[in-house]
Symmetry: none
Subunit: 523 residues, 2 copies
């Protein structure tokens, strides 16, 4: 059985927020809701008003947004043991969120009922039935999240199914099957989901975790078995190893199985949304993320590059533009000259492979690589280098000198002092700064010197800083290669520097980072 449409149900703001190191402000949550809505997500599970009273402010404000696609879901649990649903404080909080749709989780694993909840199997069934019947009386659309459903099914299938029947009989609109511990394999997910789909005349959902590194495959297997609601999070953020990653699931379903998940024209926004959520959550973005990562369509091996130049399907399972991503032909020692040439043409389409300009640029890159530069991940530095060689870059400033003093133990709590001299528009500019270490002091001094002339520098954040030692047999006299990743509101870029001195290598990468920003702003 294959349905033509699958509803995407996002829990980034609820289950995702359970991840270590993640916490969203109300503003963050509102921004993410708007991005998810624009993407075309069907449901956004946005908080648990019972366990987090702060969520109520969010629900009040989100109600004022005009959403195009998404229904907002408030999440809560079945009523407490031995009381009426109408008397349960958590359910009262849930209702005060005032959403049209709610999700209720209940226990489907007999062991969890008897040993963790510590009540009877019958009372658990009543808790599910009472809670859902009460919410339906209040006019809500109700998703029942059957927690630990697959573990429960393996332990006691009749009881696990009885919990679904209690929910269905009470009026639940969706039965969502959860692999809460993430320990189930795709073949089991398929078989058990198919059993449920056949047994109930209701929409079935799937909610997977990634503890076996299979959450995406498991979600797809459940859809192939007939599930038509897929729960997950953006970038797979979530507790432990994360939730199923909607950023992989959506294109898998939409581009590979031809199932509608979000409006077809929106799928090109996927790369943007994934990076946006990563920024707001202040988490490093996974370069290797399927579909949307920086490396997802990067080609390094010379033979691969040659084949991709002949036809991208040689080493690409989809066209990167379909999801708003781009192809990167990496410049590296493994690649032949063909790779470098197609990179150069990206920068300046008029470059011919036999021109003297091209030959000079290639010779310069080769010499720098020999010195330890590696340009495959520092595209901004490559671009600056090419433009400099072509005489097309007007430098924004001229470097004169710096001095750095480091003291250990620190003097009055300060470890590093930088003094720097630059020339901007013919004007000599001298600044000093203190910092946490020499590179930080230099960074601060340079910004202090340049911000007066170029206020746009204030929007540049350094988002990553990597150091690689090259000829490590030279020990502390070894060359080091520094990579610096920077970002403003619109894009991120990587620059590089090489030197026997880590401070100097960092300085070169820093200069390029700022020069690139100023060059882009002029374009």
């Amino acid at each position: 059985m294959m349905q033509s449409k699958v509803t995407a149900y996002d829990s980034t703001l609820r289950d995702g927020a359970q991840a270590q190191g993640v916490s969203f402000t109300v503003e963050d949550k509102l921004k993410i809701v708007q991005q998810l809505d624009a993407l075309g997500i069907g449901y956004i599970e946005a908080g648990n008003p019972g366990s987090n009273p702060k969520d109520l402010e969010f629900f009040k404000r989100v109600a004022e947004l005009k959403l195009q696609h998404a229904k907002i879901i408030a999440f809560g649990s079945t009523r407490r043991i031995g009381i009426k649903a109408a008397d349960d404080n958590n359910l009262r909080s849930l209702l005060s969120a005032n959403t049209q749709s709610v999700a209720i989780f209940g226990k489907s694993w007999d062991y969890q009922v008897t040993d963790i909840l510590r009540t009877t199997l019958d009372e658990n069934l009543r808790m599910i039935a009472d809670t859902i019947a009460y919410l339906k009386q209040q006019g809500k659309e109700v998703v029942f999240d059957a927690e630990h459903f697959y573990d429960g099914y393996k332990a006691n299938a009749p009881y696990a199914l009885a919990t679904l029947k209690a929910a269905a009989d009470a009026g639940a609109d969706v039965l969502c099957l959860c692999d809460t511990n993430g320990g189930t394999f795709s073949d089991e997910i398929f078989a058990v989901t198919q059993t449920v789909v056949k047994a109930f005349n209701l929409q079935v959902g799937i909610h997977c975790h990634n503890d076996c590194d299979m959450a995406v495959a498991n979600s797809v297997a459940a859809v192939q078995a007939g599930a038509s609601q897929v729960q997950g999070t953006i970038n797979g953020i979530g507790e432990r190893c994360g939730n199923a990653n909607l950023v992989s699931i959506i294109p898998n379903l939409q581009l590979k199985l031809g199932l509608n998940c979000i409006p077809a024209e929106n799928i090109t926004a996927l790369t943007h949304v994934a990076r946006f959520v990563s920024e707001v959550a202040n988490m490093p973005f996974n370069d290797k993320a399927p579909y949307v990562g920086n490396d997802a369509f990067s080609h390094k091996g010379g033979m691969h590059i040659d084949a991709v130049n002949k036809n991208p399907i040689s080493y690409e399972h989809i066209n990167p533009e379909q999801v708003g991503n781009i192809r990167h032909i990496l410049v590296s020692e493994v690649a032949g000259r063909g790779a470098l040439l197609s990179k150069l043409r990206e920068i300046d389409a008029t470059l011919d492979k036999d021109s003297t300009d091209t030959q000079r640029i290639l010779a310069r890159i080769k010499a720098l690589e020999h010195d330890g530069y590696q340009f495959e991940s520092a595209e901004a530095s490559v671009q600056l280098l090419v433009l400099r060689e072509l005489g097309k870059l007007r430098p924004s400033f001229e470097f004169k000198e710096y001095q750095v003093n480091i003291h250990e133990p620190a003097l009055n709590g300060v470890n590093s002092f930088a003094h720097i001299k630059l020339v901007v528009n013919g004007q000599e500019e001298t600044t000093t700064a203190e910092g946490d270490g020499p590179v930080n002091a230099l960074d601060k001094a340079m910004r202090r010197a340049l911000e007066r002339f170029y206020p746009a520098i204030k929007t540049v954040r350094l988002t990553d800083y990597k150091v690689r030692v090259l000829n490590s047999d030279q020990a502390t006299a070894a060359k080091v290669r520094v990579l610096i990743e920077s970002a403003d509101q619109n894009e991120s870029w990587t620059t590089t520097g090489v030197s026997t001195d880590v401070v100097d290598a960092s300085w070169r990468a820093l200069i390029d980072a700022i020069e690139y920003k100023l060059m882009r702003d002029l374009v």
Copy 2:
């Protein structure tokens, strides 16, 4: 059909090295081989001597290692179009690696043959057959990697199967089916693999990529269909979205399906090996990695912690100790640190797990780890730390202060000057030195100060120097972790330092490196 044993085939050093930003030195590769061998990996695909002449030095040196489990594989392609296998330079290079086993990749997708290789379908079959027959004549064990097999099967099943038949008839020992572009789903992988397993009386392997976020599930599906060799890489490093992650696959097969992949007693080393490779590759370790990540068994939600305290199976699919990982819950992080305890007993056999000494050392290590230290690969620093805590280390010198001045441009050709003050045997010693960068200047100044008292220091060479940025969102104010590897005639050892200042972090690691040498000489 379910086989009882599956061979783990690691390609971290070959396909993994194709990843963006990854490059291994010969020393790095030898260290990783030893770790993989100790883990019990069956095959280690370690390089492509035809495309990378530097690999030959590695193959020469790896032959000198005494490996317990692993066979080393040299990797290459089928012979070129229209020549004899014996005349092919790449095959000559492959043979010069002098391994008992080789892997040969060839085209199984008709389109790749006609449009990328640009030869006839028949010539491609001859290229496969000739190459394998020639290598078998040379007495090699041959794995045939059928590149793009699944895409080829979808496009032209009879031809894809004909390429396998050509390899099998020529004597191939293993037919490995590759999902080169990573675009295939688990159900297709299962069905096609099962067809091949039934059609050939040969061992079948599986080689997956992660472009659909399904590489692990696909590898497991292939095994469930009868494949008995699984190719992958440690941490899934590899081109684009990476290769199938052996660190997830091995416990999935071993702990969930009861298949032997590596010796059962070794699986507790998995977390260590994953972190070791990540350090050597100088890649950030994924905290959310299934089985081995720092967060894989972390519990944040209050309800989850309560349930895990009642019984861990509530929210854990396996016991973290099975793979050498630990549970993180707010109260007792020390629980499950069996690995660390056995490490402590290696250093001092009298240490009891409940002694106050042990508790104090564990608390100290925990505090340092919180500050960014990571002791997985810096055993010399661990040893010094333990001996210091036990009051068993008589310091060879006492640090007073240093100052470093850096000038750019260099003054009279010198970029960095270090001034340092130490106390040795109650005597204050002040030295200065010039160097290539601040760390080199400090290193030289320290040696100058100490060599008079401890001439043995002259035998110490610093053989590797790695820098890792920790909280990279802090950019140039981020903490850095430095690893320094040192060696004398007899052994090599690794030390570590953490600071917001790369110079200071290096200095801490340098001090430990020298202190360790002097301590060992006294033993």
